[in-house]
């Protein structure tokens, strides 16, 4: 099962990097979303899959799931949600102001000299 998950993570990262390297701002943002999905899935896999019981202290349960990766993912999901919302608004604002969503067209001239 870990192998399958590793492939899924790898696929997500691949798609994310492909999208981030494109020019369109919206594709880049979708790429960052996929990147964080891949990272979250990786945390889950790295914590070790398996465990049949919920991580609650009870008589006779020894094979329980690791709760920490789930807590970490929950935190990371909330953060990436906030960041994605922010960058979407920023991209829209930049589109209004700069009249383009193409990152190469956005690049103005150099800063000085």
């Amino acid at each position: 099962m870990e192998i399958v998950m590793a492939f899924v993570c790898g696929f997500l990262f691949m798609a994310a990097i492909y999208l981030i390297l494109s020019r369109s701002l919206l594709r880049i943002i979708i790429g960052t979303g996929l990147l964080s999905h891949g990272a979250h899935l990786l945390i889950l896999t790295m914590g070790g899959l398996g465990g049949t019981a919920p991580p609650v202290l009870a008589e006779g349960v020894s094979d329980f799931a690791d709760p920490i990766p789930q807590a970490l993912i929950l935190t990371a999901i909330v953060i990436s949600f906030g960041v994605t919302a922010f960058i979407l608004v920023l991209a829209y604002r930049a589109y209004q102001e700069l009249k383009t969503d193409d990152t190469t067209a956005m690049k103005g001239s150099g800063i000085d000299d």
Partner: protein, 496 residues
Amino acid sequence: MINFLLFPILITFFTGMILIFFQKNIYLQRTISLISLGVATICALFVMLKVQRDGIQSVTFGDWPAPYGITMVADGVSTLLVLTSLLLTFFITWYSFGSIGKEREHFFYYPGVMFILTGVNGAFTTGDIFNMFVFFEVLLMSSYLLIVLGGEKKQLRESIQYILVNIISSALFVITVAYLYSIIGTLSMADIAMKITAINQPGIITTIAVLFLMVFGLKAAIFPLYFWLPSSYAAPPIPVLALFGALLTKVGVYAIMRTYTLFFVHDIAFTHQMLLIFAVLTIIAGCIGALAHFDVKQIIIYNIVIAVGVILFGVAQMNFDGLEGAMFYLVHDMIIKAALFMLVGIIVYITGTSDLRKMGGLMRKYPSLGWFYLIAAFGLAGIPPLSGFVGKLLIVQGGFAAGNTWSSIFILASSLIVLLSVIRIFLYAFWGEEGQTVQIQEKTYKQLYYPTVILVVISIAYGVGSEWVTPFMDSAARVLTNPSIYIEAVMKGAQP
């Protein structure tokens, strides 16, 4: 168990929230932020004195025993940095009264500053690696706000790049923590250090060390990963630039310092040698940038990169002198960079341009500004008895002691380039024919001038009075050179 060490973080956090309610009342916002920053600074000072007297203080949330709960640790390193960042923000906030502009003040500039400080101080204080990620995100979110606040075309363009770089580095941070967790099975930094010692750092941990260097190096702007810094930092207005330049990269440097002295200390021949090479390359890249530009902001921004290299060179020596020097230089650099950005900001406001070639002859009208700039520039380059000298001396001593003779000499030589790059600003802006100036009000000038001058005076005092600072630096360097002090204090101090 002491809750007091949380005060510097909590005060700024709650002030930020309160300020949001007074969006329209600028004067109230200004007063509240200055008062709360002052109070937080005093609290930080008390925490530092307490740590100096009674040793490392820690608090574990929810009364969980040490490795299970999230720990906040105040040791010599973190208290010094917390105090410095609060002190600097006090002056930068004061400086913003005259320079940031009403529009930005109306749209949550002060809450942004408060939240960024919460994140920075949290990241300095936390004793849990995932919690550090959370505090990094707190400071990054507020830095996104501050960098784009105002919505100028240049800001929008550069902030997209800045945010993207940071999203990717945050994803890498999470991935690295996941790798570490899969091998070590814990997130408490003291516990991680203990377990890595127990398994004697196999190759996979060294790989993780390299990944951590990449993650924190992106934030600290070390050699191959500093590409985003110059253009992004030039976009926001001067007070924000001063805040970023003084605090943000230093958080990355602190994180490298912490992980490379606490976790990855068993394969120094590889990890610290690599750090040393990157540090030297960072200095070279920074020197080239600092000499190449005619834009005053860019010159000082590239000096950030150089300073990061010098501090990491001290860390890479991994001996007492090198680390004490790194701490000395880190605090010095935070103060002097804030002061320099503020001075350069005044020059930009007076002349209305940041291009050196259009400036000139300011010495006639603003002589005291010129002399204070010269002092700050000498301090940056490390001319004794100013503040950069002690740090660099100790770093180079550490370098010689560790047998890195040539690279230590190189560090000394790089000081000359630093001096040249900042003196160039002095020559172009203050000497020569009178260049372009714009009318600025006497009151505004004073609002910019006083906080800057006080900060320069503080930096002089830090250099001249380094004798009094030394005990604090000693205890910081002791914690860094001897991780067992940190581990024992955290494990013992957090017992219920």
